[in-house]
Symmetry: D2
Subunit: 116 residues, 4 copies
């Protein structure tokens, strides 16, 4: 699906509920953080193998997907709110990251660019 | 742009750097939280009007877009990692939210569904 | 109460439940983030006056205090886990912040030290 | 050190810089989330043994302690802001947790109380 069509679906959901009034950029950013934390909670206290079992279980996987979807939905709403095109900001950030993390230096390393 | 093409671009970036080895679901979820916090920091201590001025300034807006893009990029990588289609999980979550927040009850209210 | 006595109470609670095995520094840091998000959720979508009403209501205030307490409890457990004295690290950080934010420059300003 | 003396030190730091005006409960809660994320970033992409090496290195440990101190400092400021005593809210939460997580059920388990 076109990402802009997804943005439209999310926006339609919001318009139908008249929620734009609550969605200041600060509140949306706070909400993204909160949903990101709920996503993290799905994995909290779990070993890597317990995480894999959870993902392999269709019922439990849905819980993870729902939290991840909440993060994406709110991120798309914030993009809409500040009038930015999600595809463009992603592609521009990938370009910038390509400069910060050149393949020859960053390959196989988890270091932050400031330490490369 | 198709969201799956975006996922492919993000995945290509990762493959070129051989970073998949670091991207366990738990680590990706932690990284999403961290980027969401950096996004929030763009608005920290600011009044609503200061936030609006920041968004209206093209240079400062880029900083916000970059943090938002980081959240989206990592969320797409986690979707890829757990083998989920971003469009589908978003649409399914919107359907579920439509049940939790029926238009007639949720319209114009910022209450959590548990309090509606 | 002495902060070290509080640390001991928190540690006793943990020992009685044999939870130290789950409390790696990474997991504790993730848990602190999650509790911090739950604390934020208490204020989500609320205007400053709605936040003040919530704090002024004894029942609703308890919910805020419980989330704040969770953040403090986990932060004390992480200090214990890495063998650090909470009072000392707080006092040392205040000293460092006093250098980053000298009174004459920082007074009445919400700017980050990098922009002062 | 008495926790209330620590609160006083943190408060003195704030008064000297006239920062109370920025410290609404919502902003402080956002700031706690942001600092909690910076704390998490210290451990991001690291294996358990890499985390242990980092903690064992005195220089790198200081970076962790500083982020942890920031979380504690802001949590104490929020307690002050909402007029709550940190010791009391911690002790009350431990009591409540003791009911949610009775020793006989919770011992050796990382399950959430809702699943015990």
């Amino acid at each position: 699906m076109e990402i802009n069509e997804l943005v439209q679906r999310v926006e339609d959901f919001r318009i139908a509920r008249d929620w734009k009034q609550f969605h200041s950029p600060s509140h949306l950013a706070a909400a993204i953080s909160i949903e990101a934390a709920e996503l993290q909670e799905e994995f909290l206290w779990k070993s890597p193998s317990e995480v894999q079992s959870k993902i392999a279980d269709p019922v439990q996987k849905v819980a993870i997907e729902e939290e991840l979807a909440d993060v994406l939905i709110l991120a798309l709403l914030l993009a809409k709110e500040i009038n930015s095109d999600p595809s463009q900001i992603i592609l521009k950030k990938l370009e910038k990251n390509a400069v910060k993390y050149p393949v020859e230096k960053a390959r196989g390393s988890s270091k932050k660019y400031t330490n490369l």
